[in-house]
């Protein structure tokens, strides 16, 4: 278990309980079970308190937690016959973006998402989930294919943002994102998006301009990272807590603003403490959202999606 900084008191208690049990295993004489159970209870209370009212900044940390289920975990657990489709037919295949045909239940769909990787090697290969233009162009190609064959599109968003690199800029990062958002708005099939971790700015919008957008309870979605915002507006990157607060990037605030449609609950202590439950909860939400859109005419899906974005911003948090 990787503990976050704010979980340190918890790691101490859980560590002690673990130590006691280890001692008992090597020395059968010792009766520590009572103490260990007491520590467990203390840890449970502490965990509940820590997660009861997570501050926006702590939510950012949880959303970035390396042990959270990533796109690949969802695809493997929720879909069958996943057949990855690679390449943008122009330049390269971007490993920061996974995508392909798969079945959700019996329903064939196109699934697309950012993948951050789970260890040093795969993180580098996946570029930490930061897509280059090729990633967006692959997504455009897959969305277009889904449109032509009448398959719903499911996107799983988990990116710190589009990759700010030299080559990415040369090959038209901005244009690729713009076209991907445009494609999202064009396709006459249901488009459902779940923000499973970080929804980083334009790199997220390019996938998440959808008929239905859901967010995991502790995921975040923002125009800029709190660190970036702090360094620009506060002239001090260390003010990320204040920036996270001001940006209103939590699922709870975004639902109030009408930017997202649904919040998917996470297990106590975050998705990283209950990966299977989290994945299952996302699967259930996907099925519900797909059912909501089933039978809608292609034109209606396009119109509804556009209307939703035109109307967006008409309600603030004050009300």
């Amino acid at each position: 278990m990787n503990y976050l900084d704010f979980e340190k008191p918890l790691s101490e208690i859980e560590g002690k309980a673990e130590e006691l049990r280890a001692m008992a295993r090597s020395n059968k004489e010792m009766d520590i079970e009572k103490e260990a159970v007491a520590l467990d209870a203390k840890a449970a209370v502490l965990l509940r308190d820590l997660y009861k009212d997570l501050s926006p900044w702590r939510k950012c940390l949880v959303a970035r937690h390396p042990d959270r289920p990533h796109c690949r975990d969802y695809i493997e657990a929720l879909f069958t016959e996943y057949t990855p489709l690679a390449g943008d037919r122009n330049f390269a295949d971007d490993h920061a973006v996974m995508g392909g045909l798969a079945r959700l239940g019996d329903q064939p769909v196109m699934v697309i998402g950012h993948e951050k990787g789970s260890d040093t090697k795969s993180r580098i290969e996946r570029n930490f989930g930061m897509a280059r233009p090729e990633g967006y162009r692959k997504a455009i190609r897959l969305m277009d294919m889904a449109h032509r064959f009448g398959l719903p599109v499911i996107t799983l968003v988990d990116t710190p943002g589009a990759y700010p690199g030299k080559g990415a800029e040369e090959r038209g990062q901005a244009e690729a994102i713009a076209r991907s958002t445009q494609k999202c708005l064009e396709i006459g099939v249901p488009l459902i998006s779940v923000i499973i971790g970080e929804g980083g700015s334009g790199g997220a919008v390019a996938f998440a301009t959808a008929n239905r957008v859901a967010m995991l309870e502790h995921s975040v979605y923002s125009v800029i990272s709190p660190e970036g915002c702090a360094s620009i507006l506060w002239k001090d990157a260390e003010k990320m807590r204040e920036a996270a607060e001001a940006l209103r990037l939590t699922a709870q605030d975004l639902q109030k603003l009408g930017v997202i449609d649904r919040i998917i609950a996470e297990p106590l202590g975050g998705a990283q403490r209950g990966r299977t439950e989290t994945v299952a909860a996302v699967g259930k939400a996907l099925e519900t959202m797909l059912a909501e859109l089933a039978g809608k005419a292609p034109e209606a899906l396009v119109k509804d999606r556009r209307q939703k974005y035109i109307a967006m911003g008409s309600r603030g948090l004050a009300a």
Binding site: Y163, K166, G172, E175, I177, A178, V205, V223, G316
Partner: protein
């Protein structure tokens, strides 16, 4: 002490500050350092007469030179919610807004107008970098939607001048949502079969580039404009190397296939007219400065005529008498423009 600080020093200061007034008449070119006289600079569209450096220009100044006779009518933009997030950094967002409004005299960072460009009826929308860095918030989104709707209604092409540091952080996620919102606006134009031309000016970055600024039918940039998604500083921090000279500048983007043309501000009006008239299947444009079209031609329907009058009061009164929407030009050199204007492109609305 009191007597000195309260009386003597202010008096001395006021003497000096009076003498400093002429300084405002001169602008130093940030590129070559030449001192430019304000009138000369204005006549040259805020382009340095020595080195051709393109400085910022406000939407009003730009429109005054873009439209025939400087006549244009403002298109009303629906007001968004003020401060939807109750955002506060070191200052409150409404305070920053008030300061920007006071400094610029504008409501927000976008101005929408309609009028004629070389006798070609258009809708134009320009971003104001002097207003909070031109940042894209809900007002900017509303402006682009309003411009697109107006263009579709009037069957006119839309010309957009972009200039922005990106999304407006103080509107948080709602500024990000202007990326899909403005993309919807672009789609309205596409579906109506109307040209959408983007003129990218310095700087166009972030979410603005990654939405409406990169979705034009034709992309024209002003020379040396910085155009990018991630800014050079961010990239240098990420890849930890120095970027080459001219990286992400207009000419560089032209080389990399992201732009159609790089055009001097002086030639922009002619070039827009040329391209637009071909796309609209109109005969070639009339060159040179044209007087304002006749009353009723450029300020139709609900657009507030008073705004256009404010833009250039002296030149908005063409001599010719308008009759039944006949747009016969007032002077001889614009005669060839007669035929196209009479065609049903919405200019004759009365």
């Amino acid at each position: 002490m009191n007597w000195i600080t309260n009386y003597v020093r202010p008096t001395i200061n006021s003497l000096f500050s009076r003498r400093e007034v002429p300084e405002n008449l001169w602008t130093k070119c940030p590129e070559c350092g030449t001192m430019l006289f304000h009138r000369e600079l204005k006549d040259n569209l805020n382009v340095c007469t020595a080195c051709d450096h393109h400085m910022a220009i406000t939407p009003r100044e730009r429109f005054a030179k873009l439209f025939d006779g400087g006549l244009f009518a403002e298109v009303k933009v629906p007001e968004p919610l003020a401060d939807p997030l109750q955002f506060r950094d070191q200052k409150k967002y409404p305070e920053r807004m008030r300061a920007a409004q006071k400094a610029t005299g504008e409501k927000d960072a976008m101005l929408v107008a309609e009028g004629e460009l070389a006798r070609t009826p258009i809708v134009a929308v320009a971003q104001d970098f002097s207003f909070m860095g031109g940042s894209m918030g809900m007002y900017v989104g509303n402006a682009i939607l309003a411009a697109a709707e107006r263009a579709v209604k009037m069957k006119r092409p839309l010309v957009l001048f972009s200039a922005a540091g990106g999304a407006r952080m103080q509107e948080g996620i709602l500024s990000l949502m202007q990326m899909p919102r403005t993309t919807v606006a672009v789609q309205m134009l596409r579906e109506a079969g109307l040209p959408y031309i983007v003129v990218l000016t310095h700087p166009t970055t972030g979410g603005v580039t990654a939405s409406y600024a990169m979705l034009g039918d034709v992309h024209i940039a002003e020379p040396n404009a910085l155009i990018c998604f991630a800014g050079p500083r961010v990239i240098e921090q990420t890849i930890r190397e120095k970027l080459p000279e001219g990286f992400q500048r207009a000419e560089y983007l032209l080389d990399h296939g992201m732009l159609d043309r790089v055009t001097h501000r002086r030639d922009m009006r002619d070039e827009l007219a040329t391209v637009l008239r071909m796309l609209m299947k109109l005969p070639p444009a009339v060159r040179g400065d044209l007087p304002a079209p006749e009353a009723g031609a450029a300020s139709p329907a609900d657009a507030a005529a008073k705004d256009s009058a404010a833009a250039k009061p002296a030149e908005t009164k063409p001599a010719a008498t308008a009759k039944g929407g006949d747009t016969k030009p007032a002077d001889a050199k614009s005669a060839p423009a007669k035929a196209p204007d009479a065609k049903g492109s919405g200019t004759k609305a009365t």
